[in-house]
């Protein structure tokens, strides 16, 4: 086994490089980012009605899952197909803990994340020594297995204690929200803050020792071993981190309006999740945001316009093939490039003299 699975393919292309450049425009970018976050937290809720606020809240929650899976694929070069069902596990653990204990909400979702992280690591463990293909297969089987367990346990159920089981277990269950975020708008802001913390965690990991170890692993397992990287540990850590994020998102989802029910977690959604993460782009953290919007906002928009959502499944299927064949960086990488190209074309149209300034693409 010389190289673990990467999306870049045989010929290295420019999108393969790890995006951690810190250019002179750093402060400007930081200000723009802060402005954007401020708008999302304070401006956006006032513009949306209740329905769209719920959609955007769930998109924020799902961006944590897509962030984790994006890190796993883009940085560590591994593919997991059970991430969507780990989200269900996270929601479940949070709900069970709420029945069994009186932990405050933030502790609840962190514990849900840690437990989910451990479960994720446990699923990946047998296949970690084998190639990435085996790991993907095991996670696909795990996705099928978790679906079965959820159905048998009558997820989410509502009995007393951690393993409590009530025969009258409701079809849907909702975690009580923290006191400071009881309303829909407040809860939206709460989710944005948690998601923001997760993005900070991701940046910290990618820029630190783990990120360098993953980069080495992604290029060549043999070189990584020769350079003294503990390959098993860092692959396991990538898997556990992605699962942790899915678990935290699950905790948040359990407290979202309407709560959770088993119909939210069909097995094919694991594959849809992979599709949107690839389409969003796995080499940029923005890709996670794009992916979450594709997954939550796009179906709501299509539904609004009366377009059948099954067409979206087909579109996402085409998206997987397209990303793998021609655009490994996904939309987060492609759209700015295309816009820049378009801008250059337009400028050239206006003043043909500027043509020489255009770099060859």
């Amino acid at each position: 086994m010389t190289a673990v699975g990467t999306l870049e393919g045989g010929e290295t292309d420019s999108t393969g490089e790890v995006r951690t450049r810190r250019s002179g425009r750093g402060p400007v970018r930081l200000v723009v980012l802060a402005g954007l976050v401020a708008f999302v937290v304070f401006g956006l809720p006032t513009l949306l009605d209740r329905y769209w606020l719920q959609i955007v809240t769930s998109a924020v929650i799902y961006s944590i899952v897509t962030l984790g899976l994006g890190l796993l694929i883009g940085r560590a070069g591994m593919v997991s197909l059970c991430q969507f069902l780990l989200l269900a596990i996270g929601a479940w653990v949070a709900l069970r803990l709420e029945y069994a204990t009186s932990l405050p909400f933030p502790v609840l979702i962190v514990v849900a994340g840690v437990v989910t992280g451990l479960i994720g690591a446990l699923i990946g463990l047998p296949a970690l020594r084998l190639s990435g293909l085996y790991l993907a297969l095991i996670t696909l089987m795990a996705a099928g297995a978790i679906t079965v367990v959820l159905r048998i346990a009558q997820f989410p159920n509502g009995g007393g204690g951690f393993f409590g089981n009530s025969a009258a277990g409701g079809a849907s269950s909702r975690l009580p929200r923290p006191a400071i975020a009881a309303g829909d708008t407040a809860y939206f802001r709460y989710c944005v803050v948690v998601a923001g913390l997760m993005f900070v965690l991701a940046v910290w990991q990618v820029r630190g020792k783990s990120g360098r170890a993953w980069a080495a692993l992604r290029q060549s397992q043999a070189t990584a071993v020769a350079a003294g990287v503990n390959t098993m540990l860092y692959r396991l850590w990538a898997f556990a981190l992605a699962s942790f994020m899915a678990g935290v998102a699950g905790g948040l989802l359990a407290a979202d309006s309407g709560g959770v029910n088993i119909n939210q977690f069909p097995v094919q959604n694991s594959i849809l999740l992979l599709a949107v993460v690839l389409m969003g782009g796995v080499y940029s953290l923005w890709g996670a945001v794009v992916a979450a919007l594709l997954l939550r906002l796009l179906p709501a928009l299509l539904d609004n316009w009366g377009v059948s959502t099954e067409l979206l499944t087909i579109l996402f299927g085409i998206g997987i093939l397209q990303v793998l064949l021609t655009a490994p960086g996904g939309l987060a990488d492609q759209v700015p490039k295309d816009l820049a190209n378009l801008g250059r074309r337009l400028r050239n149209l206006v003043s043909p003299k500027a043509k020489r300034a255009a770099p060859p693409t």
């Binding site: 020594r129 087909i314 093939l321 793998l324 064949l325």
Partner: protein
């Protein structure tokens, strides 16, 4: 002790279909490096086309059944011809992920076209009943077992004896060297896609009879076939055959024991995990031996 016989009969039949699907997956993987995760979706689409043809009375029944197998072969071949070459140099993980794109395209199409109503196919062989070892056995169940063995024996012989089969084995070892030796790589790969697809169409037709024509259910019945292929280490046809039968029999046999009956669909996952752990231990031992 509950009466296991009816469950074992169904288990053998299901196991047979898992086994031949697994063999179809392994042959394609060995020849092209592609693990076709859309295997179940292709079979399901073929079965739904058959249902539509039967429902419309537009074509004779035998042609409708043949359509399922033909669709399996042609759809797989088309994917292989279109997307095989551009992905040829990529990592097996990328190739397998690409087939998930095909899975979603087919799943979306099926849900769009056929999603609203329930469907079912009954092959004429399902109505033939025999008494075998004091158990009632249907013709379709016998076909499931016989075809699995026939497909495995046939494939093994094909790979060993024919020229195309030899070329496929060469491809499995090294694609570049095989190409240098003058083997028409793309044509041989196309043959592998077609063969694997025909088995896939047949498996879809049989499964739609044995377990029912459920879109999502059939699409994800690729999981037990994958487990069988994985236990065969994506290499051995005979181990895959045995593993397919084992998964089918255990899964179906557990139905008889009410305490664990609900958990029977976890069988492929549990067996595959156990197999992987066993490989890991064996590999470690062989490493220790070779270094010591």
């Amino acid at each position: 002790m509950p009466d296991l016989k009816p469950f074992l009969v169904l288990g053998f039949a299901l196991g047979g279909v898992f086994a031949m699907s697994g063999v179809g997956l392994v042959v394609l993987y060995r020849a092209t490096g592609v693990l076709n995760l859309a295997y179940g979706a292709i079979g399901a689409t073929g079965a739904l086309i058959t249902w539509s043809l039967l429902d419309s009375d537009w074509a004779p029944d035998w042609l409708a059944y043949l359509a399922c197998i033909a669709f399996g072969g042609l759809a797989t071949l088309l994917y292989g011809v279109l997307f095989g070459p551009p992905f040829a140099a990529r990592d097996p993980l990328v190739k397998a992920t690409a087939t998930l794109g095909l899975l979603l395209i087919l799943l979306g199409t099926m849900q769009w076209v056929w999603g609203r109503d329930p469907h079912g196919i009954t092959l004429p062989t399902t109505r033939w009943n025999y008494e075998l070892f004091d158990a009632r056995v249907s013709g379709t169940q016998i076909i499931g077992v016989v075809f699995a063995i026939a497909v495995t024996v046939g494939t093994a012989a094909f790979l060993r004896v024919t020229k195309v089969g030899t070329a496929m084995r060469a491809l499995a070892n090294d694609r570049e060297i095989t190409a240098t030796l003058g083997v028409p790589v793309r044509r041989v790969e196309a043959a592998a896609w077609l063969g694997s697809g025909i088995v896939c169409g047949g498996a879809g037709l049989l499964l739609s009879n044995l377990v029912g024509l459920d879109i999502v259910g059939l699409t994800f019945l690729v999981i037990p076939a994958l487990a069988a292929a994985l236990i065969g280490q994506l290499r051995s046809l005979w181990v895959t055959l045995a593993a397919g039968f084992l998964i089918g029999i255990v899964q179906s046999g557990l139905t008889a024991f009410s305490e664990v009956a609900e958990y029977r669909t976890l069988t492929p996952f549990v067996l595959a995990i156990l197999a992987l752990l066993w490989f890991a231990i064996r590999r470690e031992q062989s490493l220790v031996r070779s270094s010591g």
